[in-house]
């Protein structure tokens, strides 16, 4: 009686698996970030690499020291920490001191993820927590944008990267690369009312954070990721759609005062945030209806902050606020398992 029938295979659902694991997913996104990193290096020189490496080092070291795994550094192998570090590095300005990038990575992983219990438990996107901390701690350094370069300046390193820990960057020499500061397209629009051409924005030939300037690369990578179903396509589509509709309405009221929808869509961190930040599977809703609501909320908040807020850019705060709302969204967007009509909670 103890012998099992070899023809009868007992197994419980689910039977269909996609074979996707957390490390696979993270590596997919990391591969999709390579073109963005290359664009950042093209426009901002070796500084881009240095800032990204510093942020990743801060994130990885924190995970290694405080990570949940018994085996030292075991939780590093799922790749999520590396991804957090790279994402954080890509949304920092090129001239930021390396110690600040490192600190941002450490705070993002430490306070954004590990205090909640590690990957999968966090409420907020860790990379954005790191950036929000840096924004609150060093408001000047994180909004000092240096002029973008071209391929000829590939090897340039900005001296302000090498400020000693806890110290300000030394005042730049008159002919140094970081002596020329520049404004982002959104800052130009908001404070001086100068619009930037769409072709400039698409190519990325503007000042800004490392990874956010080159719109066309982000769009292509985003489409590839969406086709591979690495993330839910509904989230970026609803964010961008909401921003397009809402900013068109505002723009039609006063075409000189408010930025055009094209400028809104292609400038600042909107595309980068919509594709890489808002789609974080941990901090965004998983139900289809929830994803639409989530994106709608982010889009509305982005336009509100950009046009009527004090800051020229608001993608970070919009995503963080909607991260906080995610559990509530999941509750109201719960699909009903069987039958029709309203679900009874």
């Amino acid at each position: 009686m103890t012998r099992r029938d070899p023809r009868l295979l007992l197994q419980s659902a689910p039977f269909l698996r996609r074979g996707i694991t957390t490390p696979r997913l993270m590596v997919d996104v990391l591969i999709a970030l390579v073109p963005v990193v290359l664009a950042a290096v093209y426009f901002f020189g070796l500084s881009a690499i240095l800032v990204i490496v510093a942020a990743t080092a801060g994130a990885a070291l924190t995970e290694w020291v405080f990570g949940p795994d018994r085996r030292r550094g075991g939780s590093l192998t799922d790749g999520s920490t590396i991804l957090t570090g790279v994402l954080l590095g890509l949304c920092l300005p090129p001239g930021i001191a390396l110690w600040m990038a490192f600190l941002g990575g450490a705070v993002g992983v430490g306070l954004g993820k590990l205090v909640f219990g590690g990957l999968g438990q966090n409420i907020f996107n860790p990379a954005l927590v790191g950036r929000a901390f840096l924004q609150a701690a060093f408001p000047t350094a994180i909004t000092t944008w240096t002029q973008q370069g071209a391929i000829t300046e590939l090897l340039t390193i900005r001296p302000s990267n090498f400020a000693l820990p806890f110290m300000q960057a030394p005042a730049p020499a008159a002919d140094a690369v970081d002596a020329i500061s520049a404004a982002t397209p959104l800052g130009l629009m908001k404070f001086q009312n100068i619009p930037t051409g769409v072709e400039q924005l698409l190519l990325g030939n503007t000042a800004g954070s490392l990874g956010e300037t080159c719109a066309i690369v982000i769009i292509i990578c985003g489409v590839i990721l969406a086709i591979r179903r690495t993330f839910d396509w509904r989230i970026p589509v609803s964010i961008l759609g909401t921003v397009a509709v809402f900013s068109t309405i505002v723009w039609l009221f006063d075409r000189t005062e408010y930025p055009s929808p094209w400028l809104m869509l292609c400038s600042g961190g909107l595309l980068f945030g919509a594709v890489y930040m808002a789609t974080d599977p941990v901090t965004s809703p998983i139900t289809p209806r929830g994803a639409w609501i989530f994106g709608l909320g982010i889009g509305l908040l982005v336009v509100l902050i950009r046009i009527w807020g004090g800051l020229p850019e608001g993608v970070m705060y919009a995503i963080l606020l909607m991260n906080a709302a995610t559990p509530l969204i999941e509750r109201i967007a719960q699909p009903r398992a069987f039958g029709r009509g309203r679900a009874v909670a």
Binding site: A97, A136, A137, A141, F166, M167, Q168, P170
Partner: protein, 216 residues
Amino acid sequence: MNTPPDPGRLYREFAKGIWKENPVFVQVLGMCPMLAVTNSAINAVAMGAATAFVLIGSSFLVSLLRSFIPKQVRISTYIIIIATFVTVADFTLKAAVPSVHKELGAFIALIVVNCLILGRQEAFASRNSVRLAVADAIGMAAGFAFALLCLGATREILGSGSLFGHLLFGEHFEPWVIMVLPPGGFIMLGVILLFFGFLRERKIRRRTRVSEEAAS
């Protein structure tokens, strides 16, 4: 009734407030002044001293009057006693160090509602002898001041690069603006609580390991 408590008991009541039952790190009481006035070490010291004066004074008086205070109106009586000492502290600070008084502002008056003080009256002073109550109050006040100083010093070092107004890092320090703002208080308090929680957990782990080894 009138036998003095033995010195060992006296010392225990004093010492528990500093570490084992620290009002901030263990009991998590008195969070309002903890977060509001700790953006510099000097403010933390002033607030610690004012709270210590009020706590020790009112513990002494409440313990002295404990057999006269009717049970039904005890809370309001404690509050009146506390408020008296707070007013004394308020006026003294105003006269002696007007600059610090200006920095602390309304938070001096708000010592009245610090639940650490009322809690000690209700839980300890109203049912113990004067000596024990004062020993307990001194311990709790020292623990509270220690916690305030921890938070105030870290926030001042990171937020303005100085300690008690002396520059630590020279002219080119990059201040962490967030640390002198309210969110910095919350973050730093969280980090400090995390650290003390970690110490406590490690101690428990060690003790269980020792007892397991002893058992096996």
